[in-house]
């Protein structure tokens, strides 16, 4: 298992390097950060442009810039991932990309993690129930809900949920759900109970929105995988041993049916991060989604690279965890 773990971790490194190269090249070729400045009428003084080019390192060649971006060697001290610097921003001279990310990462991770946990839990539950009651009314209902969720666009559903939240608040005459903001400011100085109610109020609606698509696809997946296992010979043998039904389901069917899901969930995290941009936008959270949108609007290439690379790292990390989990869950993998 140790060899397996070390090998998986080592295997992640080249992928990380590749991700950084791709991130850099894609953003670099996608446009000139100074377009707006150059297009100004009347044209600004060439020295102003030159100054900006120097500040953003646009006067250097692409490989040089990549090297600079990674190591920071030969820069002005505001660049170099290995030194913890993400590079200069177009938004303002004082805008610190690293600090901005650090401030928002927690907010987004809170949402992403909550959505993942609930999507996974509910998907497994729905999948197992559907499989055990195959072709029953319950199965058909869950299937219908699943496809409905898959078909709904996130931004549209987010709008609906906001309206529904407001309507609910009006109905009960109390502020149960907050439909705007991430609630972090309001939670300051509260005691534990206050924090919990705050989290419930602010997080419920965005979490539902963000988890919906993942829940739908994962529950379908879990249903298929569970059905396959339920019809397997070893589940039949477990029954033939005389184990009670619930033990057969939990120990033999569910345990093995979860294995393929780990991969799907790991791959699915990219989709959740994606969805988080839209969800945060609609619910006006100050998270990485908002950071990303601002960066796009400002043509802020280093900020975009930082966001892309961070997402890449999260996806690689998720896959690494899934790989290791796979090793724990499935002895056949462990012994390869």
């Amino acid at each position: 298992m140790l060899v397996y773990t070390v090998r998986r971790i080592l295997g992640a490194i080249p992928i990380l390097v590749l991700a950084s190269v791709l991130t850099f090249v894609l953003i670099d070729v996608s446009g000139d950060p100074l377009t707006e400045l150059r297009m100004q009428q009347p044209p600004p003084d060439p020295s102003v442009i030159q100054l900006q080019e120097e500040r953003l390192y646009l006067d250097r060649s692409m490989p040089e810039r990549y090297w600079l971006w990674i190591t920071g060697i030969g820069g002005h001290g505001d660049i170099g991932l290995l030194q913890g610097e993400f590079g200069p921003s177009t938004q303002s001279n004082s805008y610190d990309i690293g600090a901005a990310i650090a401030e928002r990462l927690g907010t987004t991770l809170r949402l992403v993690a909550a959505a993942m946990v609930f999507a996974l839990g509910l998907a497994v539950l729905a999948g197992v129930i559907s499989a055990m009651r195959q072709y029953s009314k319950l199965d058909y209902t869950l299937t219908f809900i699943g496809f409905l969720a898959l078909a709904m666009p996130v931004f549209w559903f987010a709008g609906i949920m906001q309206q529904a939240g407001v309507a609910f608040n009006d109905l009960v005459g109390d502020q149960v759900f907050a439909t705007i903001g991430d609630g972090l400011y309001q939670a300051q100085g509260e005691d534990l109970w206050g924090r919990i109610t705050n989290a419930f109020a602010y997080m419920t609606l965005p979490t539902i929105v963000l988890m919906l698509t993942s829940f739908a696809s994962w529950s379908r997946y879990q249903r298929t995988s569970m059905l396959e296992v339920l019809n397997s010979d070893y589940v039949r043998l477990a029954r033939a041993k005389g184990l009670p039904n619930r033990v057969v389901i939990r120990r033999h069917a569910l345990r093995t049916a979860l294995i393929p899901l780990t991969t799907v969930v790991a791959v699915g995290i990219a989709g959740i991060i994606d969805g988080a941009i839209l969800t945060e936008r609609v619910f006006q959270w100050r998270g990485l989604g908002e950071f990303f949108i601002t960066a796009v609007e400002a043509n802020d290439s280093y900020a975009l690279m930082a966001w892309l690379l961070l997402s890449g790292v999260l996806v690689i990390l998720a896959n690494l965890i899934a790989d290791l989990l796979y090793g724990v869950l499935d002895p056949r993998i462990r012994y390869e």
Binding site: R7, Y234, V235, R239, L243, P331
Partner: protein, 736 residues
């Protein structure tokens, strides 16, 4: 955990059942289907006495497995079960799952067919056995593990302590089936149901596993229901036998009675369609025409009547009951508890006294599409064959004839690559390690061996479907091994292949005519000529030429295999490579295909390379045989020689591991047993590759003699047996 304390729980055994451990009466199982109710089992009754072994024989779809699943209460919820099944007097049918689970694995246990899928891959072997113990005994985990160890020893698993901690994928198929047997034995059940327990295993391993089952049963005194399609397996292992057909038991009685004096035409037909190791090749097999009935539309009277040569009006009108066979004239029904009487379900079973299969069935090659056409087609085929019979001689031996395909020092290694990005070469599977063969004109050369011995790889190499690592393949003097794919193409006309699985080898989206015509199109024949040729071909293989427009799913397994043969024959090949062509077929169907192959060979002058693991079939069809073990040929010779006096210990073991469908012979014959499993071809033993399992090496040879086996790979030469073998110390032994 005695029987009595269990029975006191629910219902006590009804008086008079005595030592009956399982009593099934009028058990019927119906599945709902889109086309209406499907009666899989119909009014099956039998009793099983303490310690007794009962065999249930039948072909696929006969209901033999469903019956036992019903007894175990393991059928899916939508199955409708009627009648009764009592284990130690306790009714199982209609019982709630929680209550059945107290009986299951405790008083009645089951062994399934496929050991590779029967164990949960994520738990250790020890855990899965201990689990069975803990399900019914109030003992601690430690005691359960100790019991698991005891059970592994009981089923002869070497290094049991180590095995306990291993996962199923670390064990071979034979080992895993022993683990399943250990699980079944965990609570010393009164009844064990074994559903095709050795069908997925190689013959030498089958012998080991059956032995383990036998000894475990002796230890626990459990009664056995052995379900199988293999008449050889039941012959030696059961006291009584029930034959199932169309969801019913059609004949039942002591095993000798049923084997030697079958009183139901179906049982007689089954015996006649079986190729046998202990009989002469010259006898033609007598297949049962037609196909087993669809359970959705069972015929009104006897289910076998449409295929039965002695069927009369009464048979089509009234379903015969299972009655005693020995009452002169008047036949009586038998008391449920009476286990010694031979019973059969045939209106005219009296006429079958001392009947031979050949009295009833004919050795025709044609299988009927529809029953009405059966007679007519059989005659047509016979006439067609009679015309060419004059030119054919079925004699064996290759000498004096021209070799069509020659193989010299053929080697094929498959690389084993490491996982990850680099895919380094970390070893190689030595699938074929230097074999030489000659296939002569108009002969059948059989390549036999157990799974993984390299026989299929050899066949593919001979067709150049894969390329060799080294060595040569010549077809009529042309070096196939060095030709480009383009150069090979025209020669491919002459070399064709028939696959094992008739279900997977036909494209379900193409009509039969298109399938058969495909090779013609590829080799540039126009539509008109192709269509005519397709009709000819379908008739040639005994199918109705009108059925070309149908799709493969409308045909039975045997018919599909005929379609595969027709496709292979489309280009008038000279050589057919037959890769396990009948092993996926039921016995009664298999015989028809074997006969067809024999007729086609005589008719068209074909050469066959017949790849098979089934020595009985090989003995029946082959002129010469090459026995393979771990990528090498260990013995080769004419079929007659090799089966009469095999010289290599592996060949001897292989032949002696094949169960004979003859109860007396099977129980009394001398056995040469091999132990263990085939070593990995990635790391074959030094010297003689068979030495790790060789009974001669283990028991007969002295230390000094063994050195030679370890160090020196034996050459394939004649050592006095009259044919070449690759054993330093070979000695021909007559096994029959």
């Amino acid at each position: 955990m005695t029987t009595t304390d269990h029975m006191s729980n629910e219902e006590t055994a009804s008086p008079g059942t005595g030592d009956v451990v399982l009593e099934v009466s009028d058990l019927s199982v119906t599945f709902p289907s889109d086309d209406g109710p499907l009666p899989a089992v119909r009014e099956v009754s039998y009793v099983l006495r303490r310690g007794e072994a009962l065999g249930i024989v039948g072909e696929s779809g006969s209901g033999k497995s469903v019956t036992s699943m019903a007894v175990m209460g393991l059928l899916p919820k939508n199955a409708r079960v009627e009648g009764s099944a009592k284990v130690l007097g306790q009714e199982i049918v209609g019982l709630k799952d929680e209550q059945i689970s107290k009986v299951r694995g405790n008083r009645i246990a089951m062994i399934f067919q496929d050991p590779l899928t029967s164990l949960n891959p994520v738990y250790t072997v020890g855990y899965q056995i201990a689990e069975a113990v803990l399900a019914h005994r109030k003992v601690g985990k430690k005691a359960a593990t100790a019991r698991a160890l005891e059970l592994l020893e009981l089923v002869d698993i070497p290094n049991p302590e180590q095995r306990l901690k291993q996962y199923p994928h670390e064990l071979s198929g034979g080992m895993r089936q022993r683990v399943v047997i250990a699980i079944a034995m965990a609570n010393e059940p009164d009844v064990i149901i074994a559903d095709e327990p050795t069908t997925a295993l190689d013959v030498t391993v089958q012998a080991q596993v059956l032995g383990a089952l036998e000894s475990a049963r002796k230890e626990t005194g459990a009664a056995l229901v052995l379900i199988t399609h293999d008449l050889g397996v039941v012959a030696g292992h059961v006291d009584r036998i029930g034959v199932m057909y169309g969801g019913r038991i059609v004949e039942m009685g002591p095993v000798e009675d049923v084997f030697y004096q079958p009183r139901m035409p179906y049982a007689l037909g089954l015996l006649g369609s079986l190729p046998r190791l202990d009989e002469d090749r010259s006898e033609r097999l007598t297949p049962i025409l037609g196909t087993p009935p669809s359970l959705l539309s069972l015929p009104g009277g006897c289910a076998f009547a449409p295929r039965c040569p002695m069927a009369r009006d009464l048979c089509h009108e009234q379903e015969p009951r299972l009655l005693a066979t020995d009452g002169n004239g008047e036949r009586v029904s038998v008391q449920v508890g009476d286990t010694d009487t031979h019973t059969s379900a045939c209106h005219f079973s009296d006429e079958l006294e001392n009947a031979q299969p050949t009295d009833l069935f004919r050795g025709t090659a044609v299988e009927a599409d529809t029953t009405e056409a059966a007679e007519e087609q059989a005659e047509q085929a016979e006439q067609a064959l009679a015309e060419v019979d004059g030119t054919s001689g079925g004699a064996a031996g290759g000498s004096g004839r021209e070799a069509v395909l020659t193989v010299r020092e053929l080697v094929k290694h498959f690389p084993i690559r490491s996982k990850g990005l680099l895919k380094r070469r970390v070893g190689e599977v030595q699938a074929v390690s230097g074999i030489s063969l000659d296939l002569y004109e108009h002969e059948t050369l059989a390549l036999v061996g157990e799974s993984g011995c390299g026989k299929s790889t050899t066949a593919r190499l001979m067709l150049q479907l894969i390329r060799q690592t080294s060595g040569e393949v010549h077809y009529r003097g042309q070096p196939l091994h060095s030709m480009s794919p383009r150069q090979l193409r025209p020669l491919r006309r002459d070399l064709q292949l028939v696959f094992q699985d008739p279900f997977a080898s036909l494209d379900p989206r193409m009509t039969v005519a298109d399938i058969v015509a495909e090779p013609l199109r590829i080799h540039g024949q126009g539509n008109g000529t192709a269509r005519k040729r397709v009709r000819e071909l379908l008739e040639l293989v005994g199918l109705n030429s009108e059925h070309g427009a149908r799709y493969p799913h409308e045909f039975s397994g045997g018919q599909r295999q005929r379609i595969g043969i027709a496709r292979a024959l489309a280009l008038n090949p000279k050589v057919l490579i037959l890769d396990e062509p009948v092993s996926a077929l039921d016995v009664s169907i298999q015989a028809g295909v074997i006969n067809l192959l024999e007729d086609l060979q005589d008719d068209l002058g074909l050469s066959y390379l017949f790849v098979s693991h089934d020595l009985s079939v090989v003995k029946h069809i082959a002129d010469r045989v090459a026995v393979m073990y771990l990528g090498k040929i260990v013995e080769t010779g004419t079929a007659e020689d090799l089966f009469r006096a095999p010289a290599h210990p592996y060949t001897q073991a292989l032949i002696s591991a094949i169960p004979l469908p003859d109860p007396v012979k099977e129980r009394t014959r001398e056995r040469i047993v091999v132990t263990g499993d085939v070593p990995s071809p990635a790391n074959p033993p030094s010297g003689c590759r068979f030495r790790t399992r060789c009974p001669k090496f283990a028991d007969e040879l002295s230390e000094n003699e063994r050195v030679k086996c370890v160090e020196e790979p034996p050459e394939l030469v004649d050592r006095g047996a009259g044919h070449p073998d690759a054993c330093h110390y070979s000695r021909a032994v007559e096994l029959f």
